[in-house]
């Protein structure tokens, strides 16, 4: 059962030495943090490592959280920097994280993934598939906007950008997501014919 206390109350209890309060805070935010990490890592194991690292870092710096922004916004900024560091480390194995070609591999893997499983062929499945094909920044902005209950200003704060920049990026990310979704659905329709 999850705690009904607010984030701030849980933080105060954690700072007073109650580790269970922090466990409640982790439980409350873990799904979103993990999803956000998945947008960067593209693999469950790596995403879980990033997400765990974020919560440990957040615990270390909890005393410096001044409550000027939402705890979730502060936490997502940690996720973003941790994920970027992780990607930089991973760069040794890949050419470039911003290179669309890097994601062609992911795209082809996802396209062939479980293609015959009729249960998975819902709109939600195609949406998840299309998000996995986006660049990490685009996928993160869309996830934060729709699932993180964050305003453009808050997303900007977490990613270190201006709200207007986030607005433009969100618009472009939605356009790309729409294109990928349509392409995947078209591809699927052809396969069925």
């Amino acid at each position: 059962m999850q705690s009904k206390l607010s984030d701030i109350e849980l933080i105060e209890q954690t700072l007073a030495g109650n580790q269970q309060a922090y466990a409640d805070l982790v439980k409350r935010h873990q799904r979103f943090v993990f999803t956000l990490a998945m947008r960067f890592a593209k693999g469950r194991e790596d995403a879980e490592e990033i997400a765990q690292d974020c919560f440990i870092k957040a615990y270390r710096s909890l005393a410096s959280f001044q409550g000027q922004s939402k705890f979730s916004t502060w936490l997502y900024s940690i996720v973003y920097t941790t994920a970027m560091t992780f990607l930089r480390k991973k760069r040794v194995d890949t050419d470039s994280i911003d290179d669309e070609n890097t994601f062609i591999q992911v795209e082809s893997q996802v396209s062939s993934y479980d293609i015959n499983n009729a249960e998975n062929k819902s709109r939600s499945f195609y949406l998840t598939q299309a998000i996995a094909q986006l660049l990490p920044d685009d996928a993160a902005i869309i996830t934060m906007f729709y699932k993180g209950e964050q305003s453009l200003e808050e997303i900007g704060h977490a990613l270190g950008m201006e709200a207007n920049t986030v607005k433009v990026k969100l618009f472009r990310a939605r356009q790309r997501l729409k294109e990928k979704l349509e392409r995947n659905l078209k591809h699927e329709a052809k396969e069925l014919i």
Binding site: A23, Q30, M38, Q52, I56, R60, I131, T143
Partner: protein, 165 residues
């Protein structure tokens, strides 16, 4: 210049002023192109809002808490083996003992009868009393204050370092 799509996304997200909202509502009502696009984007918006979050492993919270415990369990050990703290404490106690010993020796008055005269004449106990003067005591206190400040500075530096990490 705003495209139709950009305008409509602003409208859907609620990022327009009241006047803009009124104007766009009117456009959607009377313009077929706007209406079709609006319905398409609204459907997409609902789909995006309904996207599912991924679930981490069952042991996720446990692993995080264990990670924190493991990290913080090492801290007291680190503190005990901090050589600066040990050196500081050692210096403090050694100095205190030396001063106390010197002060005590300087105040000892041995009975002349119990010791042979030749021994008394050969052993010359220095007069430490004359060394325990006001400037010496002030110097000792000053050193103690310096040592306390040094240890406090070390403590603050370590705390600051932890915060940066």
């Amino acid at each position: 210049m705003n495209t139709i799509e950009e305008t409509l996304w602003n409208y859907i997200d609620g990022n327009c002023t009241a006047d803009e909202q009124k104007a766009i509502s009117a456009l959607i009502a009377r313009d077929e192109v706007y209406r079709l696009k609006y319905n398409e984007l609204l459907k997409l918006n609902n789909e995006f809002s309904a996207m599912e979050l991924d679930e981490p492993s069952m042991a996720f919270t446990y692993n995080v808490i264990e990670g924190i415990r493991a990290e913080y369990a090492q801290k007291p050990l680190k503190a005990t083996i901090n050589k600066r703290i040990i050196m500081g404490i050692t210096i403090f106690f050694v100095l205190t003992l030396i001063v106390l010993l010197a002060f005590t020796l300087s105040n000892i008055q041995l009975p002349a009868t119990s010791i042979p005269a030749n021994v008394i004449s050969s052993v010359k106990i220095p007069d430490f009393g004359k060394y325990v003067t006001k400037p010496v005591i002030e110097g000792f206190v000053f050193f103690d204050v310096l040592l306390a400040l040094f240890l406090f500075d070390t403590f603050l530096r370590r705390k600051n370092f932890q915060r940066e990490v």
